[in-house]
């Protein structure tokens, strides 16, 4: 991986932000520090508050309590047009009666840049998103992917201190979405602008972000690098939402130095890393499907009977019903070297070292 010295200047300081709609709390005391030059993602299911938070930063929602500071200045009271922040909207919201160039120059001209200055900058950003030949087209003459890039160019043109992206890839088809991910990350690096990206797609979040904030029910569940949140999920929600996981009911015997001693279903004991502080008693263990292997039943940590398999192309998914009736899902690579046991076979399951992780509930 490319070594990158992380600038730790705080670009956006979201300080105990609360947003109520009547009795409904969309954001409850959310605090986040987003660093300068960072690709930061707000990830969560719909209704988790991620879009509300983004709209609060842009100024479209008035927060009920807390502060939003942009490089130290509290911007929470400013109307949208006075915030040095630009947004790429989910459905792009391009002005239909203006050409691509007029759309891109809109923000620059509102900032009272001269015509020639606006045109130069417009050419620059259109070059960046590879749309120079389309400057004189109208939005309805462009494909979805091109419209998305116009929206990006329009938001980048005024050189905002912060770029907000509200699920900008959700309207694109899969192939295009994958290509745009790489491009977007590239553009973020080239421009050096701090990006806040909202998505419900965990794969998008994992591939593009420097850091991810996983949100649910108006609260931040975990903040960390993609590797952190995937491999060291803090609680059940994060483990379950990011990627697939198996949640095993265990009984925690003791916790010390971040390591926990747990009793697995079936009676075997395991020592595994624990997220934060967990009290002894019943708990949940998260194990990723790809980090378990099938073995002989004799000496295995867990054992059960193969209940079903699902062919996934690159992988086979194997469901194993344990003795206590829990069902575990494993992923086995689809290869001639590995034979998948028939349904009904008694099998053992081995865990890779460090594969299991005790969660905070």
């Amino acid at each position: 991986m490319l070594q990158r010295t992380q600038d730790t200047t705080v670009a956006v300081d979201i300080d105990r932000v609360t947003k109520n709609y009547g009795a409904f709390t969309a954001l409850s005391g959310v605090s986040l520090d987003i660093r300068d030059n960072e690709f930061f993602t707000l990830l969560g299911p719909s209704g988790c508050g991620k879009t509300t938070l983004l709209r609060s930063i842009a100024g479209f929602e008035e927060i009920s309590d807390g502060a939003i500071r942009l490089y130290g200045d509290d911007i929470a009271g400013l109307p949208p047009h006075q915030r040095p922040v630009n947004t790429v909207f989910q459905q792009y919201a391009l002005f239909p009666h203006m050409t691509v160039a007029q759309n891109v120059m809109f923000g620059l001209l509102r900032l009272r840049k001269s015509d020639s200055e606006a045109q130069t900058r417009c050419a620059e950003v259109l070059e960046l998103v590879q749309l120079s030949p389309f400057a004189q087209r109208y939005p309805n003459q462009l494909s979805g992917g091109q419209q998305q890039r116009v929206a990006l160019a329009r938001a980048l043109a005024p050189k905002p201190k912060l770029l907000l992206l509200d699920e900008p890839l959700s309207a694109l088809d899969l192939k295009l979405r994958q290509a745009v991910r790489v491009e977007l990350k590239q553009i973020q690096k080239e421009t050096g602008i701090t990006f806040i990206f909202v998505t419900h797609d965990q794969e998008e979040a994992l591939t593009m972000s420097d850091r991810i904030a996983v949100m649910s029910a108006g609260e931040v569940q975990q903040v960390g690098t993609p590797r952190d949140v995937y491999e060291a999920p803090r609680n059940r929600f994060v483990a379950d939402f990011i990627g697939e996981t198996n949640l095993l009911d265990v009984s925690v015997t003791s916790v010390a130095d971040g390591q926990a001693l747990c009793v697995l279903p079936g009676g075997r004991e395991i020592i595994c890393p624990a997220a934060a502080v967990v009290d002894p008693g019943p708990g949940h263990l998260s194990v990723r499907p790809e980090r378990m292997t099938l073995t002989a039943p004799a000496d295995a940590l867990l054992s059960g009977r193969v209940e079903n398999h699902v062919y996934l192309g690159t992988d086979m998914q194997v469901m194993v019903r344990l003795e206590d009736n829990e069902v575990l899902t494993l992923r086995v690579q689809n290869s001639d070297a590995v034979s998948v046991p028939d349904i009904g076979t008694q099998v053992g399951i081995a865990l890779e070292a460090g594969a299991a992780r005790l969660l905070a509930d």
Partner: protein
């Protein structure tokens, strides 16, 4: 798939040679109710008048001559430009334009207000706008006459409030005619603008605000262009009938507020009329309206061709 294509080509076969037959009803309607009356009017405008109404089938340019030239009481003086009718036309254009402007100034915010309510309430507001128009125009105009006369409720209310010392004289003024036209045609402005505004994507306003535009800039550069089709349709729907209106000027106005509609109406009323002259005035009015509309249509296609 194959079956579908076969039936498609079959159906093309069935209609082959009968397209003319199927379009016939439309042609009949257009022919009977549009082309025929216009042609009759055109022909009548070039005929000689019969003194008790009606025409004599003899070609004459007298009607148009009467409109544009003044040849003295007995028709034997050298022709001078006749200003009477041109003044009436000018006044009508002015009144209709003013009515359109007033309808736009009041109609646009009204339509915008309705379009920005929750869908459930929009229907109620639209109903409230349209209910008065279920009543006949004549009755509404007569009612307005009672409302605004010197001893009417409007003046009495203002007197009671102490805002005025003596009744405002409204009847038989341009203002009264204006009020009548405005009230007659306001919904024709509100409804098309509402139709445009309802489809407006409010994310565009947010995008503009995000790109440093204040409220007035958003209105001018984003909202107005978006609802422009509604504004143009509404303006035509108000301007054209206002130009030919005769109820409001007849009932609310006086001799000084005489408009084209009344002029035409008079030519066909009772025995005093002059059918060819009425037809000629109608043709001139029609040409003005057509010129405006064609100008607009060409403007529109040029814009779309861009």
């Amino acid at each position: 798939m194959a079956g579908g294509m076969a039936s498609a080509s079959n159906s093309a076969g069935i209609y082959k040679g009968r397209a003319g037959l199927l379009i016939l009803p439309s042609w009949l309607v257009i022919g009977f109710f549009l082309l025929l009356p216009v042609c009759m009017m055109l022909i009548y405008s070039f005929l000689t008048k019969e003194f008790r109404g009606g025409v004599i089938w003899e070609f004459s340019l007298a009607a148009y001559d009467q409109f544009f030239f003044n040849r003295g009481l007995f028709g034997d003086e050298p022709p001078k430009i006749e200003w009477t009718y041109i003044t009436i036309f000018w006044r009508s254009l002015w009144q209709a334009g003013l009515a359109t402007a007033f309808c736009l100034v009041i109609g646009f915010p009204t339509a915008w207000f309705i379009a920005t309510r929750v869908p459930r309430h929009r229907t109620v507001w639209l109903l409230l706008i349209t209910i008065p128009y279920w009543v006949n125009l004549l009755i509404r105009t007569v009612s307005m006459k009672f409302l605004i006369r010197d001893t009417g409720p409007l003046n009495e209310f203002l007197l009671w409030l102490g805002m005025i010392g003596e009744p405002i004289h409204l009847i038989n003024t341009n203002l009264a005619v204006q009020l009548g036209l405005f009230y007659s045609y306001l919904p024709f402005m509100v409804l098309p603008i509402y139709a445009s505004a309802e489809r407006y994507n409010f994310a565009l306003s947010e995008a503009a605000a995000d790109l440093y535009a204040g409220r007035w800039t958003i209105l001018r550069l984003i909202i107005l262009p978006a609802v422009k089709p509604g504004i143009i349709a509404g303006s035509i729907l108000v301007f054209v009938p206002s130009l030919g209106a005769f109820l409001a000027p007849d009932l609310l106005g006086g001799a000084k507020t005489f408009m084209i509609g009344s002029l035409i109406e008079e030519q066909f009323k009772g025995n005093a009329g002059n059918w060819p002259f009425g037809a000629a005035v109608s043709m001139i009015l029609l040409s003005i309206v057509m010129t405006v509309l064609i100008f607009y249509a060409r403007n529109q296609t040029r814009r779309e061709a861009l």
